[in-house]
Symmetry: C2
Subunit: 310 residues, 2 copies
Amino acid sequence: MKFAIGIDLGGSHITAAIVDQNGRIRARKKISFSKAPNGKHGLRLITKLIKSLIHNSSFITHNCHGVGLACPGGVDSAKGIVLADSPNLIGWKGTLIKQELEKTLKIPVFIDNDANLAAWGEKCWGAGKGARNLICLTLGTGVGGGIIIDNKIYRGSHFYAGEIGHMNVDPNGPICSCGKPGHLEALVSGPAIVERYASYTLHAPRSTLNAKHIFNLARKGDRSAQLVVNRTAHYLGIAIASLINIFDPEMVVIGGGVAQAGDILFRPLRKVVKISIMKHPYRRPKIVPARLGEDAGLIGAAALALHQRL
Amino acid sequence: MKFAIGIDLGGSHITAAIVDQNGRIRARKKISFSKAPNGKHGLRLITKLIKSLIHNSSFITHNCHGVGLACPGGVDSAKGIVLADSPNLIGWKGTLIKQELEKTLKIPVFIDNDANLAAWGEKCWGAGKGARNLICLTLGTGVGGGIIIDNKIYRGSHFYAGEIGHMNVDPNGPICSCGKPGHLEALVSGPAIVERYASYTLHAPRSTLNAKHIFNLARKGDRSAQLVVNRTAHYLGIAIASLINIFDPEMVVIGGGVAQAGDILFRPLRKVVKISIMKHPYRRPKIVPARLGEDAGLIGAAALALHQRL
């Protein structure tokens, strides 16, 4: 049995896991922090975490094929360098993650953007298994995107492909976290759903209110919440229809906290997509929930290391 | 010197050309008609056209590597079959173009959608030379799209990728030819530009008015025409910004009649794209006019046959 180590680097935690060649997590370890470390300090934490994980898992000793690391924001996967700081992770720009970790650990290291690796995880061992071309959206506080083309992660010419959250959906829509109006993220992220509910009900968004509550209210028959969910499905649906018209994939996989809403979101969503895509004699693209949950990036990172191919 | 024959199949003409391995057209022949032939009749016309072209060009006799055919609408390039009729070409659905022509002509035949082949032509011998990932838009009566990924035409899982004209840009926008609101085609095609001018000036669109006139008026200082051009650049620019955020290509090539407007369109367009794309430490995606003009599809078809690889 082959193994690889997946690392999920976040703004509040670093998680490391040993994943086997069937995509099963065999051991995991997590460090949480209130203030994210910078690159230099972070690499020390990651090294410590990996060493302790390996130390406690004797089965992996001679079968660890590498380390994969999922990183927020822009990374150059070829060189293994962080291209830019992201809002939750400052002081990482220029960090030579691959080079430094390979020097310390003496095993091959691969890195990529976390949304790309979530897509890769779903493609290898999750909802996207068997699809040659697929799009994966991760809906949470932000909206991440990953694109699989011809059984490979599509990274673009400068490692910045897949920013589907920053696709324009309504030029008259609300301002996105990036400062531009009407991006998908500003219309269907968790905060966008809360904001929509607040505007429909004329309630200021309470700090206790979140997208999950609103989906629950909708399920219980709250009319305002149902309209909010339908409107969210509408925007998400026309964006996915555009993506299908552009990419013609077998499948669109939707993960992240918001996507856990289940049928109450997916039913209207599939309806909007169906009426919005171009007619085709035989294609029926699937819109499916992700299967790997919060571990998608972690598992995708291990898959990257197991396949040893960028 | 190697040669291939490119065929451009349209609603009002069939053009055939002998193209050499440097992308130069060495001979061409065209048939025009007022009513487009159906598939069966069309194949006879194409065969006749190719035979007459070869007959008159003795230099090609032993060096013709194949025939490439650019077809409007959906085609299965692997099987060489027309998947669906298009508005200007009825009675072609199911036509076994590849099989039938290979039987008659005894040389390899390749077919693809005309917008894909325009992109391929520009990539091989036009404005897109050297780019590994690029998007090509053809702006005319409709808006066609072609996507080159990793030096290949990207066709999607069901040969329907690249329908960029049917990307949603403004859900409150005008109705598209496909019946859905706010698609790129409904906002930046020739007829859309005429319609915009008519609505800004409260003139009913005269039959003599076309996009070219409006660009000319803008160049001469007509304020209404300038506003129409800027608004068109705005919509085209936010769509291209979305495409750059999604694909991260080296280049976006813009062809078709509308794109011949030149700087009066490209200057505001580049401005909109620049302020609308995600910031990146070093990328500067180019927005460039196509170079092959109306021959892009014809030349791309020949390139497909010369490379003999789908």
